[in-house]
Assembly symmetry: C2
Homo-oligomer: 520 residues x 2
Amino acid sequence: MWVVELIQLKVVLLKTELGESRVVMSPSDAQELGAAFESRVKISSLDGKGAIALLSISESEEFIRKGEIGLFQEVAELLGVKEGSIVQVELAKPSRSSATIKKKIFGAKLSKDEIYSLVRDIYEGVVSKVELAAFVTALQFHGADMDEIEYLTRAMAEVGTMLDFGDALIVDKHGIGGVPGASKDALLIVPIVAAAGLMIPKTSTRAILSPSGTVDTMEVLAPIDLSSDEIIEITRRIGGVITWTRSANLSPVDAILIERVEHPLSIDPESLIYASIMSKKYAAGVKRMVLDIPTGPESKVETMKDARRIARNMITLGDRLGIRVEAAISYGGQPIGEFIGPALEAREALTTLITGGKGVGSLVEKAVALAGILLELGGIAPIGEGSNLARDILTSKKAYDKMRQIIEAQGGNPDIKPEDIEVGSYREVVRAPMKGYVTAVSNRAITRIARAAGAPKDKGAGVRVFGKRGDRVEPGDPLLEIYSSSESRLQAALELTRGLEPVKVEGMILEIHREHLIRF
Amino acid sequence: MWVVELIQLKVVLLKTELGESRVVMSPSDAQELGAAFESRVKISSLDGKGAIALLSISESEEFIRKGEIGLFQEVAELLGVKEGSIVQVELAKPSRSSATIKKKIFGAKLSKDEIYSLVRDIYEGVVSKVELAAFVTALQFHGADMDEIEYLTRAMAEVGTMLDFGDALIVDKHGIGGVPGASKDALLIVPIVAAAGLMIPKTSTRAILSPSGTVDTMEVLAPIDLSSDEIIEITRRIGGVITWTRSANLSPVDAILIERVEHPLSIDPESLIYASIMSKKYAAGVKRMVLDIPTGPESKVETMKDARRIARNMITLGDRLGIRVEAAISYGGQPIGEFIGPALEAREALTTLITGGKGVGSLVEKAVALAGILLELGGIAPIGEGSNLARDILTSKKAYDKMRQIIEAQGGNPDIKPEDIEVGSYREVVRAPMKGYVTAVSNRAITRIARAAGAPKDKGAGVRVFGKRGDRVEPGDPLLEIYSSSESRLQAALELTRGLEPVKVEGMILEIHREHLIRF
C-alpha cells in the first residue's frame, strides 16, 4: 500500500527508436512508485536535464531488473545519459498538451500559446503517438482557422533550425503533389533559376505516398543530407541546392506528424498541408515562392474550386509570414513526363538538362513555366517574359552547367550520364489490347503500380508511361513498362496492373468498347 | 539497390509490453528487406504461426545486431517463440483494418464484416496505437449507428471468452459511472440478489478516471482475478461473484481501447460506452440487467434528455443481443455514501452489510432500489415488491452472510471486519469557513482530490464527505477528510482542495457569501 514519490534507477540504454518517449521499469519499481503501464513518468539526470516518458513494465523482473530503467532512444537523447548513469524517476504531472488536444477533439479554437506549447511538446517527444493521432484526426474533421494555421506554421518552424540568409532574396517552388512524375521538375527548375542568378535552396521531404519525392530523385545524383550551414554556403556560392529538410532540421515536427500519423493513417488534413509546406519555407528563409497546384482527376486537388481555395489560403498564410506566394494551378490529371520512380525520373531530368530541353513536353513546359514565374518574382525578368528566359537558360544548357555545379557541391559526380543511372533490371511491357485512343492515365493506379514495384525505396523501380491522353494506339503498342529490382515485386506490380486499368484505351465502336472493359 | 523478399532472423526476447505489436531489426537487415521505421512486417515461426508487427530499427548495429530480431512481448506471445528461435520476416501487405479506420475517419458506415475483422485485428495487436487512436477519435465525432454498435458489441465479446451458463437466468447490474463512491453499491447489490437465489456474476473493469472501480474496492476484501471457470463454478454454487473482466478474458478489446486510447485521451465516445458495457454483459451470459444511469451536474450524464437517450439506446441494443435491459435513472449530482476510495468504500460497504443497512441513506436506498429491480426482473419478487424484499435481505443480514461466502469463495478472509481494513494514515480535515448550508458537493472536485491523494492505486487513499446538499453547517464543522498513504500526496490533495471548492457552503447574507468566495 506504501508508495514513494521518487526513486533512483540505473540506466540501461535500449538503442531503438520507438516513435515516442518511452521507458521500461521493473514491476517492483513501478509498484513502488505507484505507476502502471502507460503512466507518464518524469526522468531527471543528475546534471538537471529532464524528460517525460510513457512507462512500459518488463515481464517479471527479467529484461529490466529492479533498480534499472530502460531508456529507448528518444529519451536517452533528450537526457544525454550513458549506460549505467543514475537518474531520478517520479510520476509526471498531466501535460498541458493533453488538454489542448482534447480541446481540438471537441472542435474548439486553440490559442497561440496552446499551439506553441503543443508543438514544443511534440518536438520533445512527450506527446504520445495516441495523442498525436487524435490531434491529426481531429484536424481532419474540425480543421483549423487561419490564426491557428499561422501559429502552427510559425511554431513548427521556430522549434527547429531557421536558415539565416540575411537580406538575400530567397525564392523557392513547391508542388502540392499527388501527380506521379512531378518529383523531377525541381531538378530542372532549381538549376534554371540559380543559373539566372537567384538563390533557390530547394528543401523537400522524402516521398510520403508518392513513388518518389524530389529528394528521393535527387539522391540518385548526389547526397541530399546537407546540414543547415552547407545549405547556406552552397546557396550563397552557386545559387541552389536540392536537399532534405530532415538533415537541416527544418520544421522537424512536420516530419514527426507525417511519419507517425499522416502516413500510417494516409490522411492529410488541409490545415496541416498549409502548415507543413509553409513552415519549411519559412524556416528556409524563403521570401518569394511559386506554389504549383496540380489539379485534375486523381490528383491531390481534384477540382478548380478546391485549387482556388488552396491558392487563396496559401497566399493569405504567406502574407502573414512575410512570404510572397504566387499560386499556379496546373493540369494534374495525368503523370508528368514519361518516367515515374527515383532513378527513372533522375535519368529523365538529367537527359532533359543535357539535351537542352528535348524530351517530353509536359515536363519541360511545366518546369519552364514555374521557373519563369520565379524569375519574374525575383525581378530577373519582366512580367510575361519569365518563361522565355527560363527556356533560353534550359536550351542554352546553362541550366545543365548549373546542375553539374549543384551535384558537385552536394558531393555527387557532376559527370554522371543518364546511362550511368542504374534502373530496375526486371522489366515487363504492358501493351494495348486493341486499337483506340488513350482516354485516361490514372495517377492513382500508376502510383500504386510504381510503389508495388518497390519505389521509392527501391530506387530503380518505377513505371514508364508511353501514351498520354488523346494518343492513338494500335493493338500491341506499349502502354506501360514496369521496372523493379525484384522479380517478385515486378510480378506483384503486374498483378496489380491487371486489376487497375492504369491506361484507359477506348475504341470507336460501342461493342468493342464494351468488350474492352471486360478484357483489359 | 537490391532488396530481398524474405529473411531469416534469430529471436531476441524483449520482455516488455508496449501496447502494440512491434519488433526491432538491425539497420542492415531492414535495408536488405527494403523496410524502414514503421514498416509493417510479417513474422512467421517455423511451426507456422504468424504475426504482423510494426518495425523499429536499432541504432547502428548495437542492441539488436544483424541476423537478430527483437520481439516485444505482444509479438512473442502471438508467435510462442523462445529466445534464439528462428523466424522468417517479410514485408506485410497493407491491412484491411487500415482502410476500415480511414473509412470511419471520413464518416462512412462500417459493415459487419469490416467491424469483425477490425476487432479481430485489434485483439491480435496488429492495429497500431496510431490507428486505434484515430478510430476512437473518429467515433467521438462521427458516432456509430445501432447496426455498427451491435456488431462492435458482438465482435468485442466473441473475440474473447464467452461464459456458458447453459439455460440459467443470469442477471447483472451496471452503472454508467461518473459519481464518486458508486463503486461500492455492487458490494451490497450482489449479495442481496444472490441471497435471494438469483445468479449474478458481477464482472467489472478497474477504475478508469474514477477514484475506485467495483473491482478496486472488492480487491480490498478478496482477490478479484478469477478465471472464467472459477466465475462459473462460484456463481453456480453460491449465486454471485464480484470479479474482474480481465482475468476471465471477457471482451478483451474493451480493455485495449480503454487503456490505450480512451484513458490516455480522456475521451469516451457514446457508441463505445454502449459497446463496452454490453460486450462484457453479453460475454458473461447475462440475460436480464438493470442499468443505473446516475444523472446530474458533473455526473457522466448531466441531463435527463441524455439519460433518456442512453436508456433507450441501451434497451434497443439489449433487445438485439437477447438481453432484457431495464434502465434506472438515479440522482447523480453528488457522491454516493460518505466515503470515496477503494479501502474507504470497502469499509463502508462492509459496515452497511454487517449492520444490516444502517448507514448513509443514499447508499442503502440506491442499492436496495437497484437490487429490487433485479429481483423483479428475475421473477423472485412481484413488480413493485422488489425493493422491499431487497431491504429485508439486507436488514436480516442474509446479504452479509452471502457476502461472507463470496469473499471466501474468491479467496479472501470472510471474517474480515471494517476496522481490519487499512486506510491512509496521513489525514487532514477540511472545515466549514462560515455558517451556512451546503449547496453543492462537486463530483469532479471530489474525484480529483481523491485521485490526487493516490486513489485508486493507493488503496487507502480517498475522501470522506461529511455534509451533503442541504445540510446546515457551523463554522469549523468538518466538510471533508482526506486520506492518503503518502504525506506529499496528502499535501497535493489539500492544495487542490483550496482551488476547487469541492463542497460549496452558502450563507444567508450577501457580504459573507462574497467574502467566503475569496477566502475558501
